[in-house]
């Protein structure tokens, strides 16, 4: 196959005949377009004929380029037509000729400063909408919970156990691994710096209080938000995309009761357990490093720990866990149920779910810190 060409003929008075030859196909469209443009500009005759008799192959690309040329000339008030069009290409040409190409101009956005201000405004109203949705979800959850308590037979026990296995049991190994490391790193850094003052022994106070009050629960919540919150959002989102949520609703089930409540209950049970396991693992890691790196034998570590931390320290950490689980779960489910049709929306909501729940967990931790300080815990 040879590339398509447009040959200019000799003008005869006000009339000119151009010859098109070769393959006017997609493959050569890039090469043909400049020739066509040159012809549009270069030909001055009033009446123009394009002879297609020598064209070998013609497809939509070639047909459109010819059509574009004709339209240009016709718009200039000239008489342009095709001759020698093969019968089997006539249908294609008619299809292309029927197209209007009328595309409304793209809506022009405002300038960049306005766009930035606009996006800030949209984000801020979005925060308000998020809070409303959060409150709405909490309300629906409480209502669903009330219904389930009044009619315990409707409680989805199997589903709850299944979710509990996924977010609780299956999360244990990774939580243990990470918290052991965190405890070990805290102890190592503590020993390294405290040693300068000869205060190595106080590393036990630091690790004990920090892990039990703050780090244990925070690390576990961040892990759970990334691991379980994201999967809640993705699952619910995919179910929304495939209209499964609508199907539930039309069958007379409340999606909150069927889908969200078991997940929430599983999370509220699992996170405190994981927090306990995580805190213990972190203390273990801290003790191990104190022994191997700091030369503090385990007996001394334990004795010192007993003095440094009290039941209150432990309680402060554990009380926070179920509330944080609630925040993670509600954010994840709200985001999941907001997913629209596209795959992109699913990804966006999953990201939002993780980012928002981690942010809220930290904010909540701050609020708890103020609360416990003011009641003297």
């Amino acid at each position: 196959m040879t590339a398509g060409i447009l040959l200019s003929g000799q003008p005869q008075g006000d009339r000119i005949e151009l010859n098109a030859a070769g393959s006017w196909t997609a493959e050569y469209a890039g090469a043909i377009e400049p020739q066509v443009e040159a012809a549009i500009r270069g030909v001055t005759a009033r009446s123009i004929f394009i002879n297609l008799a020598r064209i070998d192959y013609l497809d939509t690309y070639g047909a459109w380029l010819l059509e574009r040329t004709l339209r240009n000339w016709t718009n200039q008030g000239r008489d342009a037509r095709l001759i020698g069009l093969r019968e089997d290409y006539r249908g294609l040409f008619e299809k292309v000729h029927a197209g209007t190409q009328k595309l409304a101009p793209a809506a022009r956005g405002p300038n960049s400063i306005m766009a930035m201000l606009e996006s800030i405004g949209i984000t801020m109203t979005g925060v308000g909408a998020d809070l409303a949705l959060f409150a709405q979800m909490m309300g629906s959850l409480i209502l669903a919970f009330k219904r389930v308590i009044l009619r315990p037979s409707t409680f989805r026990f199997t589903s709850t156990i299944h979710q509990l296995e996924r977010v609780g049991w299956q999360a244990v190994p990774i939580i243990l691994l990470i918290t052991v490391l965190i405890g070990a790193i805290l102890a190592q850094q503590g020993i390294f710096h405290f040693r300068k003052f000869g205060a190595d022994i106080y590393v036990i106070d630091m690790v004990g209080v920090l892990v039990l009050r703050e780090i244990g629960v925070l690390i576990v919540c961040v892990m759970v938000a990334g691991r379980s919150g994201s999967s809640y959002t993705a699952e619910l989102g995919a179910m929304r995309m495939r209209e499964e949520v609508d199907a539930l609703r039309t069958m007379g089930f409340d999606p909150i009761e069927v889908l969200v409540l078991p997940r929430m209950i599983a999370l509220v049970i699992a996170v405190p357990i994981l927090t306990f396991l995580g805190s213990m693992a972190a203390l273990y890691g801290g003790g191990l490093v104190s022994w191997l790196y700091g030369g503090i034998p385990p007996e001394i570590f334990l004795a010192r720990l007993r003095e440094a931390v009290s039941g209150t320290t432990f309680e402060v950490g554990m009380i926070k866990a179920p509330f944080m689980a609630l925040v993670i779960g509600v954010v994840a489910c709200v985001e999941g149920l907001q997913v629209q049709g596209s795959a992109e929306s699913l990804g966006e909501k999953t990201t939002n779910s993780v980012v928002k729940s981690i942010f809220l967990v930290i904010v909540l931790d701050g609020i708890f810190a103020m609360f416990f300080a003011s009641i003297g815990m």
Partner: protein, 258 residues
Amino acid sequence: MAASNTAVIEVRDLVVDLKGNRILNGVTLDVYRGEILGFVGASGAGKSVLTRTIVGLLPKQAGRIDVLGVNLDQAGELQRQEIERRWGILFQQGALFSSLTVGENVEFPIREYLDVSERLMTEIAITKLEMVGLKPDVYRKYPSELSGGMIKRVALARALALDPEILFLDEPTSGLDPISAGDFDQLILTLQRTSAMAVFMVTHDLDSLHTICDRIAVLGEGKIIEAGNMDRMLASQHPWLRAYFHGVRARAGRKAAN
């Protein structure tokens, strides 16, 4: 344009296993230039498997597939790409990229394979959209804003973006109302007649088989049990074929047609 005798797809003794089950067991099939081949078979018989194997989405255990005269096993990377440029595939659900606009979806293969100006690309995309019966306004919309029938049309426009020589259609009329399905059939027929491409159409729609297919191939028990025109299907004594083409729905359809 009548079907000529050059085969654009030649499948010989194809064997495909899926998760340990033998789905296709010695399929031999030709698709000729310029014909519309309707491909039928019971649900789960492996129609989609054959389509997906031909286009290279599934591995095969044995057999040979030639597309446009090229053995796909022996084709190098470049030759394969060259072949892929010359076929278009319409997936059952449309498979439009949901993060791109309709226009970008149609332009996607053009951008990847051809070296043409931005302007020509846009114009071709709009031309294709208008050819499949859509208004140019859809160009800037996102797939999530379209109805099921429109999604199929956009997907067809994308499959046709490079003016392919072979068009694979996976149940093109499923999920469309009878009027839209009929329109879609006519659309495929018109487009096929204008460009003389070969159309390989997996379908369950008896109306499509009657009205636009030049030839029908039937898959059963992992093999092609019959191939030929409609008369041959109606004359066949194979029990499944009798049930399919002489069933209640087929009779009702013929009565309506007469």
